[in-house]
Subunit: 466 residues, 3 copies
């Protein structure tokens, strides 16, 4: 049951041997984690994590969605209803329920991440099942109470060199301040994620913009609003940020005149903007934010194409981020054109594109990134952060835009304990891909070694200017 | 030339050995055939099949379309014109023509199915070619005249445990009645396919609905029409049906108010419904039929995305189902939302989705099935019922929705003799996929054995409530 | 560093051995190059090629786009600005700049083509890098000054049997004339590419049509215009052409009445046609040109789905074909229907379809080509003219339309020295694909040998009627 040293490598012995050699040279490289969702409070306060279910199950929508799809109620997995109804569920009961459904995860990355964490952090090499659920629960609960498994200790144990969090535009970054003031050697940097003050359809948009303007002392004008963004970006940058992040329903951008943009802003702020205006405003803001990136050097990340909260009754009961966001077809070639017309030829800018629509890899994203100096491709994302997903990403992009128009791996996770597992998976899959290119003589092994290092470490570090 | 025991397995010896072991444990499992198009009359009357051409070529649009694409006339393959013109063609002449074009099928599943049938049923291990066409024709003709190759004997020889037919809503199920009354041990169940009374654009829609209402004694109102469906479903269920089937141009659904739906029904029945109304009505009916499934427990199958009768002159001459149905892009994430809003969270409901647009696997179908309790994914369908098609289905869905949100294999065929060949292919390809996961240490071989059994037998049996 | 004899073959020894045997039997077959962009002047004048940079870098948009995407200026690669500003750059400086960025091409076909050319034509087996850039430059420069590397000598050295060029409808084919009159044994045939007189949105459309009518003595009427095409096609055919080529933004076709088409033509010619009229006119012309092909037997090629000149500032500075054409989603099933309704059942017609949208392979193109007698599939095109691109083409089309509804390989290149490299790659990848089918017992090795020969030679020769 123990983790096999050759996992995820090609089965053919010659290619496997190459993959082994490549992986050996990158397995112990420091982790660059330039995009993710861990809590800055963890590093600031360095408290022990709560019980195993709260650590591994309840907050992980990969885990809860699979059980939900097979008829398990979210309440029974510890997910709290918005109306506060329903009794709290014991961690142990959640863990048992999970154990009795663990076979559902066969063939999924969630299974591989969990088993990697259990073995490397807790020394557990048994497959989770009803019979051993209680024993494993106790063992994990005991371990996470110890100082060796507190966030800062794990940061060192995991070999993290730098980790980025994702923070709203209105965030005071107090935890990031506290981390810095504490004198701890870890490097935790914020990321500027302004969706809530950029999307007129976001919950509380008007209040959010009001706060933004108040925080920065700017007037409620288009110019004031843009300057407020500039001020907050500078604030984030002063706290170590090197990047911004933008999760939009589509990749749509606009390149309006200042007058038209100002008019749109006034509509948005008056609360009269309908869906078409909101769509246009979000699009215009991507271009404005890209222009700001040419000024302040922050790397821009665009994550489009998720139909958020597809399940309205689940959303009503439990709120967002419960596994009901569904990918949709995304058109980059037309949608990004206004932004690219404005800033696409600026080689000092870096815009990193992600997708949930794999058809865009070979048809649009690799051709775009293989041409525009400002564009790079982010790694296989979300549902595609998986062995087959990563393989398809390389197979459908490399031939057109090469390796150097990509930016290495990022774990994009709120599951802190899974971070080493995810980087391990990405490094293995990339080494397996490179090994196949070496084995059929498309690359020399020597350059494959250089590339393996770039994919595991160099590209992320340089791509995100860390 | 004989069938190789390792066909469709991985070539790498280690993975091949695993695939062999997995396949050995499922090769002889009984066949569950929960969706198909064999004729209930075959089982009821148990007559010998006609000549080899009528058995293997003329009714098989996979076979005739390939020859047609290379300039062979359908008339020469025995396909009769609607206007009755043209002389009947002798089976032997058709067979010879087919033999002289058999090289066209290299690399296709049709070739693999045919050769499997020839060897396992007729003991023929030579490749079909002009030189042996007559001899093979005689050998097959002789064999199918014997009692051992009648439908009921083949049912046993093939190891079928249960087989579903597909039957119009107006069908009297007389053959199913006859089968039951005959005391034969075979289990042949009908499937409720109401497209002809659901689609206002279907040929004869108004007459069909009239018949439906007459059969059930319901009035020509929206409520009466829905009750007529309920009555027919109950009739099918009483004859053994466990499922319904819906072949729609798109996955579009609606969730209208009862008043709006009633108005739409009245338009459809008055013959004034245009394409937009027909589109909406079909969409509304999918939701209504899903609601009925929550009442009566029938599993619902949705087969969308075929552009039927793409070739109008061929349709005029020969009618439907002559190989001129072409897949088109299909949007599940928006189209299914109204139905899912209505019943998607009902874990007692099973809706099985199929696609002819492979891009939907990883982008939409696996994410949807990995979340909604009511959804399951049907196997790779029609043009994708093939080794590469099945492999891509597993590779692009498993990581997101696992194995247990799929429902095993179904052969979907009217080619009775190919049924064992198709299940053999599916079992081999699934074992090959599992073997690769075992070989690169994503699964243990022990659990792969359990999964192989589920994919070959258990998932179909439970998924279709058989 | 030298080219490995097993490059691009399966790694698994059994499959590799089969691939070797298959490749041996096709490696030395003559090259049929039925679609490409070499200059007829080369063969007519037989002059030495200029310096290495002008040969390998400046005109190759695959090469320049990759460097541009990483911040290199096109000016520094020798690409001249339209306004004539900027000093000419020395070939040696361009070569050095290229050498210092050569690592960007790891994993791309450009790298494999270049290394194949360097070794087989110049005997260079070192990897290009800054340290050896000058030495290799000198070596290449010296060699291309010799008679052995002039266009006609290379034609023989490369083993070309016939090569097609691509020529505007207004071209006088003087170079083709000169080639024929010279008595040289090489076969260089033109291809009729009328986009500039067919697309109302093409630069200079009105002048182009005026010239077309003047050349053919036809009046400025719809009938005159169609007859002018007929006359030019006859002229091309008399110069050896066997095919036409059409590069349209989409696959859209129309099948209008003669009166409506004539009205559209009048609008186009009056300069009052907007985008919708231009779109309709282009679509109508595809159908008209297909009809002409049924008359004169010229094979019709349709290359849709490129968003040309996506980067307007680059286009303003440098003009078209500088690496800024980006693929877009393409719908064949609806777009081609009017053309297919008109002529799709004509088995004497050959229409060859290409795509930049790989999702169409399995969903639309293979099902269409596997049905309509007039349709064939062109090989993996442009960004997909690569090992993975070719593999995906076979894996997603063969099972539905077989091998015989495809037309072999074409190199589609203006990079003359890369022609053997490209055919070598295509033959290897096809043999690798066939070897896998043999190794897992989907094909016999004997028929794989026949198929390898068809894919490398026979299908292109027959498909293009050469």
């Amino acid at each position: 049951m123990a983790l096999h040293p050759d996992r995820l490598f090609p089965v053919e012995p010659e290619a496997r041997a190459i993959a082994r050699r490549l992986f050996e040279s990158v397995a112990d490289l420091k982790i660059i984690s330039p995009h993710g969702h861990t809590e800055p409070a963890w590093y600031a306060e360095d408290q022990a994590f709560p019980d195993p279910a709260a650590l591994f199950i309840t907050p992980d929508h990969y885990a809860t969605r699979m059980l939900y799809s097979q008829g398990v109620r979210l309440e029974d997995l510890g997910v709290r209803r918005r109306d506060g109804k329903g009794a709290a569920v014991e961690g142990r009961a959640i863990w048992r329920l999970f154990a009795s459904h663990f076979h559902l995860f066969a063939g999924t990355p969630t299974r591989l991440w969990l088993e990697h964490s259990l073995e490397t952090i807790f020394g557990i090499t048994e497959r989770l099942q009803p019979a051993n659920a209680d024993a494993l629960y106790d063992r994990i609960a005991e371990a996470i109470a110890t100082p060796a498994l507190r966030p800062r200790a794990l940061y060192d144990k995991f070999g993290i060199e730098v980790i980025a969090t994702t923070d709203g535009a209105l965030d005071d970054l107090a935890h990031h301040d506290a981390i810095r003031r504490s004198g701890w050697h870890g490097r935790v940097v914020p990321t500027y994620r302004p969706d809530a003050v950029v999307d007129p359809e976001a919950r509380g948009f008007l209040e959010n913009v009001e706060k933004l303007l108040a925080m920065t002392g700017e007037p409620a004008t288009w110019t004031g609003y843009l300057n407020a963004h500039r001020a907050r970006r500078a604030f984030f940058k002063a706290h170590g940020a090197t990047a911004t992040d933008h999760g939009h329903p589509s990749a749509h951008t606009e390149n309006l005149s200042a007058a038209d943009a100002a008019r749109l802003f006034d509509e948005a702020l008056s609360g009269t903007a309908g869906p078409a205006q909101a769509y246009a405003f979000r699009g215009q803001m991507l271009t404005e934010l890209a222009r700001m990136s040419t000024e302040d050097g922050l790397v821009m990340q665009i994550h489009p194409g998720s139909y958020r909260n597809h399940n309205p009754s689940l959303f009503a009961d439990f709120g967002p981020d419960k596994g009901a966001d569904i990918p949709k077809a995304t058109d980059y070639v037309h949608d990004l054109k206004p932004l690219l017309d404005a800033v696409g030829n600026d080689a000092s800018l870096t815009v990193i594109l992600f997708t949930l629509d794999e058809t865009a890899y070979s048809r649009e994203l690799a051709p775009l990134a293989g041409h525009y100096p400002a564009l790079r491709l982010g790694p296989a994302w979300w549902f595609f952060d998986s062995p087959e997903g990563m393989r398809r990403f390389r197979e459908t992009t490399t031939e057109t835009c090469g390796f150097y128009n990509t930016v290495g791996f990022n774990d994009d996770t709120r599951a802190y304990l899974s971070i080493p597992a995810r980087h391990d998976m990405a490094r293995r899959v990339d080494c397996a891909y490179l090994a196949r290119l070496v084995a059929d003589h498309r690359l020399d092994e020597e350059e494959a070694h250089d590339l393996a290092r770039e994919l595991a470490y160099g590209l992320a570090k340089r791509g995100y200017r860390l």
